[in-house]
Assembly symmetry: C2
Homo-oligomer: 333 residues x 2
């Protein structure tokens, strides 16, 4: 059996009951299953197998950017607009940041409490538990749980645009990168990464000094990226740059319109399903490596493999030669 480490697993019959209630729309059952997934308990494979058929239906919009850019306010305003049209909205706020900068996401969530009373909105915060690779995997599984539970549009918010955040953004169909005029220097140092991650730029707090300069700079960079032979060509899309003042609800409707234009283009061109195929392959490879790690862990500790590990431990054999020896034994070499 494929298994995952850590956390308190719930008994299988209890899990089956939770899944049944979750698929029938029970929020408490959904919350409990998310906790299982977040803690990577042994119940995860059974849960994800059971919801698989209904887990593909949602459209995923990522919102990322540096701390203090106003991502949560944008997510809040987008949620209000989507709700007004009857869309059921899932919100996942992921905080993979260093403990030295952490905590902001949870604090910001307080503002979302107006939506927390709305049965058409489900909000969940997630933070790092051990491995960052595990966090991206757990986020993907939570997206699938929300989709299976009938939330048709899922907003995934992450703080920062480091490697983990970019990995999490790969789960999104449309990614909004939120910047503020103060982000100017950061934009300089990581322009290429931003162009790769973003489908839409929102320059928030656009009433502040420097906003016009940043917008002009991003538009120019987006134009260069569009013309570049290395930019994706599966859709005809030049990254739009929008000015927003989310706090005053300025520009958010236009932002949502751009999300819809991007979605329509992806859907009509067939790029959405092609990209999702690639994403499923990549996510699967990550899962496979993790399961291999667990299977390997179970084999070390005793027997012939342990003898090799002990040589490494003593320092008598170098790790690369030992790894080679183990791969040969596993017939993977």
């Amino acid at each position: 059996m494929v298994s995952s480490p850590g956390g308190r697993p719930a008994p299988p019959d209890r899990i089956a009951g939770l899944i049944e209630r979750m698929l029938a729309g029970d929020r408490l059952a959904l919350a409990r299953l998310i906790t299982q997934v977040e803690n990577r308990t042994q119940a995860v494979p059974a849960i994800m197998k059971a919801v698989h058929a209904r887990a593909q239906a949602a459209y995923v919009v990522g919102v990322t950017g540096p701390p203090g850019a106003g991502k949560s306010t944008i997510v809040d305003r987008l949620t209000a607009l989507l709700r007004a049209e009857g869309e059921r909205v899932g919100v996942i706020a992921v905080d993979p940041s260093s403990p030295f900068t952490g905590g902001a996401v949870l604090g910001d969530r307080i503002r979302m409490q107006v939506h927390a009373l709305d049965p058409g909105v489900f909000i969940r915060s997630m933070a790092t538990r051990g491995s960052l690779g595990g966090l991206a995997r757990a986020t993907g599984d939570v997206i699938r749980l929300l989709a299976a539970s009938g939330f048709g549009l899922i907003l995934v918010e992450t703080v920062g645009v480091g490697q983990t955040e970019l990995d999490i953004m790969k789960l999104a169909d449309t990614t909004i990168v939120v910047l503020v005029p103060e982000s100017g220097d950061a934009v300089q140092t990581m322009k290429a990464g931003l162009m790769e991650a973003a489908d839409i730029f929102a320059v928030n707090k656009a009433d502040r000094a420097g906003a016009h300069g940043l917008i002009a700079e991003l538009k120019f960079a987006a134009h260069l990226h569009y013309a570049s032979p290395t930019s994706p060509k599966d859709i005809d899309w030049q990254i739009p740059v929008l000015a927003t003042e989310a706090q005053g609800d300025v520009g958010v409707a236009e932002l949502l319109a751009e999300v819809r234009r991007h979605r329509a283009l992806l859907t009509e061109s067939g790029a959405l399903s092609a990209r999702r195929r690639v994403r499923r392959r990549e996510e699967f490879k990550g899962l496979l490596v993790e399961e291999l790690r667990i299977a390997l862990e179970a084999r070390l500790g005793t027997g012939p493999l342990e003898a090799i590990v002990e040589d490494v431990e003593r320092g008598t054999v170098d790790p690369y030669s030992a790894a080679e020896a183990i791969l040969v034994r596993l017939k993977l070499e």
Copy 2:
């Protein structure tokens, strides 16, 4: 053959020549081999096998803490003290941080240029290239290259104390956590993690307001940690808390004295070799998983495994069932 991805590999005979010159003390050869290791080229296994016998000799001191705490200045001053005693010093400055906060380490290195002219000092900056797990692994390999090249004391500096930084600090025999009075709030939110990571606290910029309070707080926390049943008991060590003003060279000699006291205790008690055994095992497991990933990658793409992956890609099979099927085929289940 075990192999690693990415980067431009140098031809094998050229690598052999570089290793020979590096072991004879050639700095340029060392720098070029570090580049091979940093880029994770296919030459890495051959390089690490060749230097293995001489790669264990160095003592590794980690220096971590939030941006702006003055880590680089402390590393600079420690280097000067160590050089005055004739110690050969390697310095590795690792910046795993998000691109939004990055760049500081490289800038700070400019201050180290006085040592860059000293043949008894070797300084290298490293930044994230793709995976963070890869960064910790590359840092470990660079430590071993510097050790093999005759640098007896290696200072590893990282920005921040997030998960990756903590992983990198696991490579150190003694870890100094540098804080400043402004870090007070951060200390509150991550006290447990700090106590786990630190062997020594340095409260730098100790002339600023709030320093006394932070020192008192850390001393109390260190005392509680010392008395806790979960703290490591292989040596009798209560984390000391030192006040430093590295810019004015205040307290740095005392800091070095504490490093030496920690080292002596680790060595005499046998804890140093026991801890290094554990570390070699853990590092090896990480390497093994990475090599398994590469071997697996080579097997996907064609044949029976590819058929399973394509089912996942199409969404007709859920990833957990597919992972199970692949592990069974690999006889790892």
